[in-house]
Symmetry: C2
Subunit: 693 residues, 2 copies
């Protein structure tokens, strides 16, 4: 270990418990909840195994009027729920870490889709998060009832083995709804003055402490107002930082660990596009000065040097992590062992949050094993030795899928894996995506794999060599994996329009694909339409790039908002503000169906004709697999047999263009299952089932 | 039974099985799938008990590359899944009905959020339904594999007890993707000609028939193109009706039951706003003429006379139902017993589909017990006798919650329930909502309850009497239920803006609440802004009403589309087309923050100032519980005790303004649980849990 990092491995006392080191996986959603207890336990245990001294399960609603359905939360409504969650506590303990449970109530943000309970909140205001009804203004009975539930849940969690019990007070949920005068309009003892608005939280902390304070550390998560100055970032309305710090001081005797969040969720979980590593640090430091107790804060920390420096500065006592702990559960052990260049750094792209926002279980663009520990038995650092590791393997294409497949085959002990890439660099579509404005950190996907590939003795990377089918047949490989990726179509085919768009021909000077734009092709005049039928990062990225060069850019899109997918990575508002400031105009609800030199035509959301004058168009319409090589090879089984090729597979975008995370998952899976009877078809995965008896 | 209806009770032979009558619950989603097998079984069994001769479970994906996650489908990926679903077959059989399972593959529409499998489809085109990636173009191996899975699933379903096995070919899913040249661009034997495009479907039918045709009836669901002429309705692109009828004739020997759907899902499950009862009838009739086999089609049929007439006309052999069977599982028995005015008619408001589209389990605005058969042990027609039924009950307010509560208390045997309503009519907010353009059938919520209330000997309804707190105390009731509803705020408070809007005062001539608009108040000039911060039916309804009177109406809304909630009831496109034709303009992404005589001001989506000239504004911003009566009573426990009031409760919008379905659910629940220790708090409900062992 580097001596500079030793400070990270000091134990930290929190109330009656001691964390073995300063690495702390803060509560974050997994999609497993208490409904999938074994999947949850395996997902959390791997972090303890990787060296995180504290590992928390996600938000645990204490009562059915905080029902998160459709997302799956760690409901702890009764003793059976607590027992299910106890599997996680036991699995975390098995590796010497402390286990935390974040007792939670969503207040007016609770969907209550499963329970159909009425929402409750300090005042009857519409939730900005949930359509479907207003909340009941909590009466004295509701306040007492929820405090009883919190205590009951705390007791059951302690009995189930948890060491750290939260009173979740952040992110705009019930506690914050009480604290903020924006959402607390009460005129009784729970509203008005700061002390009154803090009363529900203080009373709950007191009651929980009385119930389990002797056995467990009491943590609370708080939200500071935040004000990063990032355009489009919301702060948390209503609670000024100075007020929150007063509350911290007031409650300090009741709390063993302060878990600090900053601003709204899109700010707190800010992506690498708009926030640097450690951006919450100044706010955490202010909390540090207001309390005598340990403080943890996140910050998308990936650098051990910065982590150690932040601890030394006194800003925090623990390095909180959600995203980085997903990307690399073994980060602490890698630091401890000085294997710094093995750390799989979080890209800050919020694919994990995209999965959560689309109501799926956790996933990670960097770490294909995240969430698959129980389901598929995948370990992020342990790879089953392959049967027949001396079989020569040829992987054609070093994009995300090809790189990942090669790394995993290498780790499984294959001795002769050749990755042959036609371009002079590896990386596939990431080669140009990482160069789009604000997307630089996405390049970490390439960087980590490049280091691994260079280090694996059985893997050789050859760039600048484009293989034809005959070359593949002659290569001498026994297993061939085609990972030739995808390209953006230049013909204007788009969702709902399977036929090419008249006039769409990327051979013309005024028609561009995104790849052409990134490679330097420019339209013959200053007015550019970027047509976005895709909805994620490509069109805004190209638009921003061209606007920065002085083009008059307008994005035209059939969607009702620009880049709706970015809302699910928490980037939408910032991205739209960013482009607005850059002078990019947007036409929503508009479909382009024809291109001519000097203009584009189409229709608006009411099917009325629409047209615009422009000097060129970038078509971000639809991708197509580059699968000609695969198709040619697969079409000639005799030739394959004659060449000694026993297995021919296709992964990543060459199979079907998808998000980068899915291409990596694909390459990873094939490498894990290359010894299966039919490696092309995913093996069944374990699903937790309801009792039938 | 009315002799005219006897035809509905004739048995119908389908392949090797015989349906006991012509009532057929077609496959429809429940949100229970194979993951919640006991909840599913109880939900389906109640329909068999109510007299439906055929009862189907929902769509059952045959393989992990048709994974519907996040929604829960009836996955039948292995034998354990089949056993879970078998609980439903057994429960349906217990009441003498046949059980059906709709084997399914979503093709390019499969989210695959849980399995993370690549999507498959006949051609690599973007799904219009699912963001997140293109499909793999199926190769010969995929075709054979999915047919094997279909056969395997069919065999396991038959072994689990199902009588009717589907090859689902409708609604734009995999079979339809093959049939339509819009989505099938193949150049092999599965693309091109009609026979080629039908090959995958025909081969699958053949294989399934070979596997289980001796034991089970083989059904297939098909989609006809449809063309209702309703503005905004999509037809199903690509397959002309004549072609589909040729396919029907080609496949007729392979099929025992044709299940006919029409157009896209929003057309097929058309709401009462835009489609009359039986609107699919002409298309079903055309299928009837192309086949020798029985035909079933839906049509939101609620009238027994029309059902009998449709059978007699030969258009169909079976009355298919999804929504009506949810609204009243006992419809067949009520017809058989001549209890026609007991039928709880479907409102056609698609609350059931709203629940599905928001990834929740089934619900129904008319039938609060739907989906609660296992969870809460609720039966739609059987009500546990109350403890102490002679306790006098006063319900204040005869809106949805109050009406429902009174009906259930009456059915539980209460002998002295008084429902006192201040207005001259019962119905609450539905009194005016049902008079908004196109919303007439929503009035069925009142109508069914009015009939029940008139019939229950223990319930008396008193209208036109407004009770003050003193009146309630003097009333002589032992149990008091406050159901005084909600009102739209006239002060402009809206999501994210908890303070009143400057200038928003409904006492002024140019400021209107929706209730005022419905009661006849009109602005002093022709230019009206309807400001919609709500997003559902109220603002479009008021806008349409005013436009029809000649006002120049524009809807201003912070949402990116008009009435986003209507997309989840499948009405959005039609509603927007409807208002566009009515000359209503829409300003999206715009927040109004101030009102003056002659203008409104606010900001656009980039926080830039915005204003408009107008003569008046209708504020559809936020509702408020009318809870003054409850608050006054609850604030004086001594007075309650002195008056002999042992229980004081609050239900419906008086508790918290929500969708009408939730108000009804609330009133129903309180009446079911009025004998509980704390009736105000919902009793725990049964949840199916994962195995821990």
């Amino acid at each position: 270990m580097d001596a500079r990092h030793a400070i990270l491995f000091e134990p930290v006392r929190i109330g009656p418990k001691t964390l073995p080191n300063r690495f702390y996986q803060v509560p974050h959603a997994s999609g497993f909840g208490s409904a999938r207890p074994k999947t949850q336990a395996a997902f959390r245990a791997i972090k303890a195994e990787g060296g995180w001294g504290g590992v928390c399960v996600e938000y645990a609603p204490v009562s059915p009027d905080s029902d998160e359905t459709p997302p799956i939360a760690a409901d702890i409504w009764d003793e059976r729920d607590a027992r299910a969650l106890g599997l996680s506590a036991a699995a975390i303990h098995a590796h010497g870490a402390l286990a935390g449970l974040e007792l939670y109530h969503g207040g007016s943000s609770s969907p209550n889709g499963g329970s159909r309970a009425v929402r409750v909140a300090p005042s009857q205001l519409t939730s900005e998060r949930q359509w479907g009804g207003l909340a009941k203004e909590m009466d004295a009975g509701d306040i007492a009832r929820l405090q009883r539930e919190w205590v009951r849940a705390a007791r059951q969690a302690a009995d189930a083995g948890f060491d750290i019990i939260y009173v979740y007070g952040a992110h705009g949920y019930l506690m914050t709804q009480f604290l903020s005068p924006h959402t607390n309009r009460r005129t009784d003892g729970y509203g008005g003055s700061l002390a009154n608005r803090g009363r529900f939280w203080m009373e709950t902390l007191t009651a929980v402490r009385e119930a389990v304070g002797g056995d467990c550390a009491i943590a609370t998560r708080i939200a500071l107002h935040g004000d990063s100055g990032v355009p489009g970032a919301e702060t948390l309305p209503g609670i000024h930082t100075d007020d929150m710090l007063k509350l911290v001081t007031m409650a300090d005797d009741l709390v063993d660990l302060w878990d600090v969040t900053v601003g709204s969720w899109p700010e707190d979980s800010g992506t690498s596009r708009y926030y640097p590593e450690g951006h919450q640090r100044p706010w955490a430091h202010r909390v540090r000065e207001a309390t005598a107790k340990p403080v943890v804060a996140v910050g998308r920390y990936t650098s051990p040097d910065l982590m150690a420096e932040v601890i030394r500065s006194g800003a925090v006592d623990l390095i909180g992590s959600a995203r980085q702990a997903i990307a690399d559960p073994f980060l602490p052990r890698k630091i401890a062992e000085g294997r710094l260049d093995e750390i799989r750094e979080c890209t800050g792209s919020n694919l994990c949050i995209f999965r959560e926002e689309t109501f799926n279980h956790v996933g990670c663009v960097q770490n294909a094993t995240a969430g698959e520990e129980y389901r598929r038995g995948w370990h992020p650092e342990i790879f089953a030795p392959a049967a027949g590791p001396d079989r020569p393997v040829l992987i054609v294409g070093a994009g995300p899928a090809g790189m990942e497949c090669a790394v995993v085959l290498g780790k499984r002990g294959f001795t002769a894996v050749h990755v042959v890439e036609a371009e002079p660099e590896i990386g596939g579509k990431l080669r140009w995506a990482r160069r789009l404005p604000t997307l630089g950190d996405w390049g970490r996907i390439i960087d980590w794999r490049a280091i691994q590939l260079a280090r694996l003795p059985g893997v050789q990377v050859i760039t600048g060599r484009r293989l034809a089918a005959a070359d593949v047949l002659d290569y001498g490989a026994e297993l061939v994996v085609i990972a030739t990726g995808s390209e953006w179509r230049g013909d204007g085919v788009q969702p709902g329009h399977p036929d090419p768009m008249p006039g769409a021909d990327p051979g013309l000077p005024h028609v561009l694909t995104p790849e052409q734009a990134c490679a330097g092709k420019r339209p013959p005049g200053p007015r550019v339409v970027v047509y976005d039928a895709d909805g994620y990062y490509v069109a805004p990225g190209v638009a921003e790039m061209l606007a920065a060069e002085g083009f008059e850019v307008s994005v035209v899109t059939p969607f009702s908002v620009l880049s709706p997918v970015s809302d699910q990575t928490l980037e939408g508002d910032m991205l739209r503000a960013h482009l607005h400031r850059a002078g990019v105009s947007v036409h929503h609800g508009t479909t382009i169906t024809g291109v001519s030199p000097g203009s584009v035509t189409g229709h608006d959301r009411h099917d009325e004709p629409w047209s615009a004058v422009c000097d060129g168009i970038v078509l971000v319409t639809q991708q197509a697999s580059q699968d000609a090589l695969y198709t040619e090879l697969a079409g000639d089984p005799e030739a394959l047999a004659a060449a000694g090729i026993a297995g021919l597979y296709r992964i990543g975008d060459a199979l079907a263009p998808r998000m980068i995370s899915e291409a990596i998952f694909d390459g990873h899976r094939l490498a894990r299952e290359i010894d299966a009877e039919d490696p092309a078809q995913p093996a069944p995965y374990r699903r937790e089932r309801a009792e039938l008896g």
